[in-house]
């Protein structure tokens, strides 16, 4: 399942780091962070609960870039 989320991030490198962090989160099959459109497309693993996974994703992203926001 693929979902798109609006995000808020200020620097392009941070967006790359967020992408890496999201990819490593459990329950995420693949992720793309689009800095220019401020969007994050997350592909969840089968059976994963998006809401719960996104909480972990946000936590992981906050670690690499404390200023970022993800709307979900």
């Amino acid at each position: 399942m693929k979902k798109t989320y609006n995000i808020e991030v200020d620097c392009a490198n941070c967006a790359n780091l967020m992408e890496d962090a999201t990819k490593k989160t459990a329950g995420v099959a693949d992720a793309v962070v689009n800095f220019m459109t401020q969007k994050m497309i997350v592909e969840f693993e089968e059976g994963a609960e998006p809401k719960a996974v996104m909480k972990d994703v946000l936590k992981a992203c906050k670690k690499v870039e404390s200023d970022c926001e993800i709307e979900f």
Partner: protein, 628 residues
């Protein structure tokens, strides 16, 4: 500017004012240090906080960490050496923040510009309910609803015109400035602007499936497909930052130790630590990391404005490397409609020959009959025609003004035993015999688009090595069109499956680096579009299948748009490479100069912030593609 940016601007102004004032008032010692420290914290507190958090999360080596270490180091160095020169530490932080502010402003601005270019989303739909008009969210309008579009409004949903005539401005969708006329019964697509008359439309699609939504979705997702250059840069940034950090550490520790222990000189700790700090300031990978995706985004946005939708940065990259362009003939280079192109008459006058043929064909709805009627151009008086017989696969026999007219192919002529001439022109030939006498023939062919020839020539000019045309048409027709247009190679009489095989053959022959683009109308060549390195669908307005299958979508069917697409991509990639080379060369040069002690903190600031500003400005150039 948003709130965050305004706050940052205020901090920058306060700090600048403080630093300037401090130059003119004479305070010394602890007080001076405290005042400088205050201005340092005003400008840099968030960076220090982020750096601290980074360390807590075991994530060192990000740019905040670099800036924090470099400026704190410079500050400590100034205290330690009692020079009282705190300006450098504050200046580094100040310029870094100015750079960040500029970057965030420039990116925000271009993001807004690009979204404005693609401002085709309709805000509302005037739905007719029980004879009254109500404004509704386009999302909530169901299929089959009746919608009224006033002049000046956007067409909210795809549909069919029930009532009214008007001109539509399609420039936001196609980049084409000529208005398009619509009348009752015609299809209309969402996103066009209604210009002259009131239109009543029955919707045929939901908003989510409408052309506007498809296009917006495509544009919004486009920069999510990352190009090789983007992947290269993010990989590079991952290795580069830690490498420079270790380099700086080595620079701070090793040379002084060597000097002290082996050469018997003084260690010069201060000088070497200063060089190491310079190193750290230079090392920030911002310029690269921001300017590459920004260039692609701007390029995709600029192309979108011209009616060329590129589905991703990776396709932008492939398109710029295209060396072979393969065309489908019908509908791509030709209009895909039939027209009378020549009339070869015997003794009868040309217009009379056409008149008889048109009258004989008046009851048929075959495309060829229609084209003859269209060429005749006048109202057809059906009372002049009697006894119409359509002989399938042959043609038509009818009685016109009491004379027996036979119009059809050579088989029809043979059937009637009429001697006929073959034509040297390529195309479909309609022979006409009246009362058993051969009167001549009419040549009907698919018409080449007005810009096809110029487009082929422009492609050559833009560096395309070879143009190839594929068609299911007969060899004679294909060769003639190819020669007329100046296409290099032509393969005719192909079945749809053969086209895939032919493209595969061409793919196998070329070098890996030279990419092959296939251009089709997207209706029945979807397999070929997917098979080619890059598939370009044209005239795709309203055709979902084409939008799905292709990598690049041309909104109208002008072949010059192919040239435009290739030029836009080359310009964009040129800017990307310029930025990569420029940023790397300056950074490495400054690193080298910093290591030997020639470059000071100020050079370092230029290498970081200056390069970024220039790279961002250069990236925005990719947006301007109108005159390419």
């Amino acid at each position: 500017m948003n709130k965050k940016q305004k706050k940052m601007l205020t901090r920058i102004i306060i700090t600048t004012a403080m630093v300037v004032t401090l130059q003119f008032i004479s305070v010394t010692g602890i007080l001076q240090m405290l005042l400088y420290l205050i201005s340092y914290f005003i400008i840099g507190y968030d960076i220090l906080k982020k750096a601290g958090k980074g360390i807590m999360n075991r994530r060192v080596f990000d740019e905040n960490f670099l800036m924090a270490i470099a400026t704190v180091g410079a500050f400590v160095l100034a205290i330690y050496s009692r020079s009282g020169d705190y300006n450098e530490a504050i200046a580094v932080m100040l310029f870094y923040q100015i750079g960040e502010l500029f970057q965030s402003y420039a990116v925000g601005k271009s993001r807004k510009n690009i979204s404005a270019l693609m401002d085709i989303r309709p805000d509302y739909a005037n739905v007719e309910r029980d004879g009254k008009l109500e404004k509704a969210d386009p999302d909530e309008v169901s299929i089959g609803s009746v919608v009224v579009v006033q002049p000046g409004e956007k067409v909210p949903l795809d549909g069919i015109v029930l009532e009214g005539n008007s001109s539509l401005n399609t420039s936001a969708l196609t980049g084409e400035s000529l208005p398009r006329d619509v009348k009752q019964g015609e299809k209309i697509i969402s996103g066009c602007i209604n210009m002259t008359g009131v239109l009543k439309i029955r919707t045929t699609k939901e908003f989510g499936e409408s052309t506007v939504s498809k296009i917006l979705e495509l544009v919004e997702n486009s920069s999510s497909r990352k190009s090789k250059s983007e992947n290269f840069i993010s990989k590079f940034a991952k290795v580069y930052t830690p490498a420079v950090c270790y380099g700086a550490l080595a620079l701070a520790v090793l040379p002084p130790l060597v000097q002290m222990l082996f050469l018997g000189q003084s260690a010069q700790w201060g000088a070497w630590i200063y060089r190491a700090l310079t190193f750290l300031v230079i090392s920030c990978p911002c310029a690269l990391v921001i300017s590459i995706p920004l260039s692609f985004f701007a390029g995709i946005g600029g192309a979108g404005k011209e009616g060329v939708l590129i589905k991703g940065s990776n396709y932008m990259e492939t398109l710029s490397q295209a060396k072979y362009v393969v065309f489908d003939k019908t509908g791509t280079l030709t209009q895909g409609v039939f027209e009378v192109t020549a009339i070869h008459h015997n003794e009868m006058e040309e217009k009379h020959l056409l008149e008889y043929a048109a009258l004989a064909e008046c009851a048929s709805s075959h495309p060829i009959s229609k084209s003859i009627q269209k060429a005749y151009g006048k109202e057809i008086d059906r009372s002049r025609v009697t006894d119409i017989q359509e002989i399938s696969g042959h043609g038509i026999v009818a009685n016109v003004d009491g004379r027996e007219v036979a119009a059809g192919n050579s088989r029809l002529m043979q059937k009637f035993g009429v001697e006929h001439k073959d034509c040297h022109d390529a195309g479909t030939i309609i022979h006409v015999a009246i009362d058993g006498n051969y009167e001549g023939h009419i040549v009907i062919s698919d018409v080449v688009k007005a810009h096809s020839k110029a487009a082929i020539a422009a492609l050559k000019h833009a560096g395309i090595k070879k143009t190839v045309m594929l068609t299911g048409d007969t060899k004679r027709v294909a060769d003639k069109v190819a020669a007329e247009l100046g296409v290099d190679e032509v393969y005719s009489e192909l079945l749809p499956g053969d086209k895939v095989a032919k493209v595969e053959e061409l793919l196998a022959k070329k070098l890996e680096k030279e990419k092959l683009a296939f251009v089709g109308d997207g209706i029945n060549d979807a397999p070929v579009l997917t098979r080619a390195d890059i598939g370009i669908a044209m005239g795709a307005m309203g055709s979902d299948a084409a939008i799905e299958a292709a990598d690049v979508v041309l909104m109208d069917d002008d072949p010059m748009k192919i040239v435009k697409a290739i030029k836009v991509s080359s310009k964009c990639l040129r800017i990307v490479y310029q930025n990569i080379v420029f940023a790397l060369v300056i950074k490495f040069a400054c690193l080298a100069l910093g290591a030997v002690g020639i470059a000071n903190m100020w050079t370092a600031i230029f290498a970081d912030v200056g390069v970024m500003v220039i790279a961002v400005l250069n990236a925005i150039r990719a947006l301007r593609v109108h005159n390419l």
